[in-house]
Symmetry: C2
Subunit: 214 residues, 2 copies
């Protein structure tokens, strides 16, 4: 199949593009709620409002659909994190603002942390290639940043990775444990107020961890 030597003036079909997006939306919701194994193509097709075999006009199979959902979902988060890390104005990025930015971003896409958590439990094999090109440099960068901050005086260089893991677990965990939190605390941690309140707390928490001790 030749890759269309001349540029197509107008995309061949637009209706197909739209349904592809709808399928991705539906699949994202299903996979986020019930995981890969717990999601059936019937679930997805029913949400979209089409028959199961029609899905195969847009994605090769269930796994390809899942990979596409993951890739589309992770894109924005990775670029936000990437931009925040590579800002590099000499000054180190304020953890308070970074954590608030992430919380706000994920608050708009609460499916994402669930997808990521399911993926990690499953071994993270679909996530690894997505992260490989971003997370490694980001870690190297953030390690460099962290080491140039007063925090290193408290934590020591070999404890820096744990700060990153903690950051990750707090943010992702806030979303994946929301059902438990809500049933125990009463208020919804995914509501606007819940997100604002928790973002404030997590931001202050990390700021206090990073800042120098006396």
């Amino acid at each position: 199949m030749p890759p269309s030597p001349e540029i197509a003036p107008t995309p061949p079909r637009r209706r197909g593009q739209e349904t592809s997006e709808h399928i991705l939306d539906a699949a994202e919701a299903c996979f986020a709620r019930k995981g890969y194994a717990g999601t059936t193509l019937r679930n997805v097709a029913d949400v979209v409002g089409i028959r199961i075999p029609s899905l195969y006009n847009h994605f090769a199979n269930k796994e390809a659909l899942y990979a596409a959902v993951l890739e589309r979902g992770m894109g924005p988060v990775l670029s936000v994190l990437s931009a925040s890390m590579e800002d590099g104005s000499g000054d180190y990025p304020e953890p308070n603002s970074l954590i608030r930015e992430m919380m706000m971003l994920l608050g708009d896409r609460p499916n994402l942390p669930r997808l990521v958590q399911y993926e990690l439990l499953a071994g993270g094999h679909h996530l690894a290639p997505l992260l490989e090109n971003w997370l490694r440099p980001a870690i190297a960068q953030s390690m460099k940043i962290l080491k140039s901050t007063p925090a290193v005086r408290r934590w020591g260089p070999d404890q820096m990775p744990y700060l990153l893991v903690t950051f990750f677990n707090i943010v992702v965990g806030h979303f994946t444990t929301a059902s438990l939190t809500e049933s125990l605390m009463g208020n919804n941690p995914l509501s606007a107020e819940g997100l604002a309140e928790s973002s404030k707390f997590y931001g202050e928490l990390f700021a206090s961890l990073i800042e120098a001790e006396d």
Copy 2:
């Protein structure tokens, strides 16, 4: 094909009680690795070394088996937490030692945090009845404890629940994100050294959060 009757001096025919335990062990490993939907009774039976229908001599169905796994697994953790909370020697429990105790306990049973995380993602409906009788009083108790500590001076009473959620997410997340952590950091966070190192870090982290500021 009959399995060669002449050999097998002691056929691996086990007594029911033992088999039930073996089934629970196998099911715990399977459910922890692949979740409820991702686990098949064939997986479990193969690990135990029996046929699928034999499982039904010990558990009513797949869901009952899952509930039994969860209940057996959660027991020790709940009692440790419960004991630690209700110690109540007037003094508040040292978060450093509590977090180390939990990390050590879960380090011996790394299936548990994964089971819990899968459960929470699925809605936590099987977990709720187990936690209802323990977690609520524990939260009330720990809130009382926290409020009597210097920590409240820094965090304010309404932020106490977030301290608990953070505690939970850090400890559980350490285990559920181990695959990612290992592939990125190089060393295994579930090994003896990894656990010791991380317990130390998390303990210090929480101690520094709880202690008074200036």
